[in-house]
Point group: C2
Chain length 439, copies 2
């Protein structure tokens, strides 16, 4: 196997017996990891694998939260080859005047954002780990982030994708054109499919002119209900905030905001971001007495540390990314704490309030297997609560390996059958990222 693959990508770009892990805590090993240099080499590797019933796992920046790159043996697959996209790191074209870029799957997310910013443009998707994650992984999970409230998730900024489909065909759906209804929207189908329908090798991205300002406002509230009422007031203010974030009481204790020193005793902290002074004033008014307008740099530096601070509370945590309709947010925030308590765990949550997207978490002692088991049971209750509230088990991380089986609980059997039929149509041998996004 190594010899054949070395002929396709060069001997220097084939690794043997490689451990693969992401930020989910899941890990596994593959016999071979190849690093193709270009889309045509990816196609050659896929063709080689597809012909021989060898399973494939695409590997990006390894910053995912659902175990999407962790290999499992595919049913009927003889073996598994991991395909790293890191050498597909070229920005193929950048046309700032047309607000557009064509970038390969291995380009680092932060590089795209930086190139845009240097030209007065904004690439709005802002998932965490921007310095580590790659465009391909952002596409595979349709990654979100705080500013998805105003700007939507990654897929909204993609006008075309280049992909290797079974049995090794390099094709494109869409391109530099901004509007196209000629074919089925296979671009959107592939985005968020977690590498289970093909391997994305490049995308055409679109940008917008960067907003003049990022003007956060923040306020703390004594209870979850009052905090959520403030979020309603924000949504009713007539302003479209760029982001609407929240932290519950336990998270505020773990990650006290330097810009709102009195917040630590509160039930909910709400942070919004405006893009004009007029809008900021409207948001300040919506948040009410005690609202502050700290510098954006301070807010987002702090915000990026929240997940780490929550983990540090006891040393470990299990975090999910459920989403619910925004008018069910208070129930989901309180439900997270209640579910934790039922399992003898501290439950807490923070996240993207405007999108109803919660990073519901349970605090854990490192290495405590029994506690971890209770947390896994609590996570199942969390998914059930999200469903009951009209929501989803995953707002932005994807199903991966971690949440395999959740879709069947969430979707009707005929809807699940439709997903399976599409998978079988595009990957008849079931070789693309087996075990991931399983209904």
């Amino acid at each position: 196997m190594q010899g054949d693959l070395a002929r396709l990508v060069g001997a220097d770009h084939v690794e043997s017996d490689v451990a693969l892990a992401d930020a989910s805590g899941l890990a596994g090993r593959v016999p071979v990891l190849v690093h193709p240099a270009a889309a045509a080499e990816v196609a050659a590797v896929v063709a080689w694998c597809y012909e021989r019933d060898v399973a494939m796992v695409p590997v990006g920046g390894r910053s995912g939260y659902s175990g999407g790159i962790v290999p499992v043996d595919g049913e009927g697959a003889r073996d598994t080859v991991a395909i790293a996209l890191d050498r597909l790191d070229r920005v193929r074209s950048f046309a700032p005047l047309s607000w557009r870029m064509e970038a390969e799957a291995g380009v680092i997310t932060a590089t795209i954002a930086r190139r845009a910013r240097e030209n007065g443009l904004l690439f709005p998707p802002d998932p965490g780990a921007a310095e580590q994650s790659q465009l391909g992984g952002n596409l595979a999970t349709n990654a979100g982030g705080p500013h998805a409230f105003k700007y939507g998730v990654t897929g909204r900024w993609v006008t075309g994708v280049e992909v290797v489909l079974a049995p090794g065909e390099l094709v494109s759906f869409g391109g530099a054109v901004r509007k196209d209804v000629a074919g089925y929207d296979l671009r959107s189908l592939l985005i968020g499919s977690e590498g289970t329908l093909g391997i994305l090798t490049a995308a055409w991205l679109r940008f917008v002119p960067a907003p003049a300002a990022a003007l956060p406002v923040a306020a703390a509230f004594p209870t979850v209900r009052e905090g959520c009422e403030a979020i309603d007031a924000v949504l009713g203010s007539g302003v479209v905030p760029a982001a609407v974030e929240y932290l519950d009481a336990r998270c505020i204790v773990a990650a006290p905001p330097p810009f709102l020193p009195g917040a630590a005793g509160a039930g909910l902290l709400v942070v919004c971001e405006a893009e004009s002074e007029e809008d900021r004033d409207a948001l300040l008014e919506a948040l009410g007495v005690g609202a502050v307008a700290p510098p954006a740099g301070e807010v987002w530096r702090w915000r990026e540390g929240v997940s780490i601070a929550v983990r540090a509370a006891l040393g470990e945590k299990l975090s999910e990314d459920i989403a619910v309709p925004v008018d069910r947010l208070a129930e989901a925030i309180e439900g997270t704490v209640a579910i934790g308590a039922r399992h003898g765990l501290e439950g807490c949550s923070w996240g993207h309030a405007g999108d109803g997207n919660l990073h519901s978490s349970f605090l854990l002692e490192p290495g405590d297997a029994e506690m971890r088991e209770r947390a896994d049971a609590a996570a199942r209750d969390l998914f059930a609560m999200a469903r009951e509230l009209g929501g989803t088990a995953s707002g932005e991380h994807g199903i991966g390996l971690l949440k395999a089986g959740q879709l069947s609980a969430q979707w009707a059997p005929a809807a699940v059958a439709a997903q399976r039929a599409v998978k079988a149509a595009l990957d008849p041998k079931g070789l693309f990222n087996p075990g991931k996004k399983e209904p």
Copy 2:
């Protein structure tokens, strides 16, 4: 057949031997047209048809431009039943504070926009014929419109769809939740699929607070090149206009803008819309000397009449809706005129400049069959030009019956095969809207 269907939807809601036509000029007949009252009745009709190999054509407001509702005999289908969605006209829920509505497929587009507006919200999609078209048709074609430049096409405002899939299963993909990556994005796959994968019965829509103002600016330019340079200046101004429209010289003669009386001799008229005075001033500066800032009402009333005025020039026209990357716009505008000239026709174009979306047209004498044949040949050249410029045969109207076969010219064989595989997976008998969106 009529008897069975009458039992499913009521005898008063079954019509026999019905003519079906839309705005494309194509027409046909079906033996039966049923008007189910609810999604469950649609599912019952689909189940009845699917079991008996009867083809189905969904019918909305009949304002489409591609013949999407014009029946053709399906291969292997015994007969055809048209399914009108007009009685599914309920707004099931409207939560203005959560910026959201659940509406059935037969709700008139203008009703949705009006309900939103009355509550300080904006439903951004603005395809033509808003008083006639229905949500289901807007979804089936993923309809665009002038404001798609800033806001995107219909699908961007849909968080969930309810659909009847083969062999008669009523299911939902997505819902009121704003973020969801648990399953494949079958919602986006269904949107724009022109009724060929199932029949949409309802959708969850999202809104945004209505902008404070609609402030158009306009200027005329002596040549296409200078007009397109002004569009570049607009895109480089740092402002995101809500719409960027254009008309070429022939269209200006046919539909002279009352707010820019000197424009009739120009090569290109450019109209943009700002949402704040500051942005309007930046757009005025970008358009340069001679730019005016007319009232929005006057501009959009005039703009809505452009298509009719162009038709009236000779009495008939053939209009397409190609789209190209925005930096190829000038070539496409000039190419339309040149292609017309090659076929002895007056070619002209207007449309959504910011999206590179052209309503390229050829002026016709009513009833002149030979002239119509030349126009059909010219349209084929137009599609070829769009492909050569990196664009598409359809930016917003869909393939329908009119442009059947264009996708195979535009997509690689393996990409076309993927579309066919998805179609076969979800509609194995090929009974949903046969002959439409054919690659």
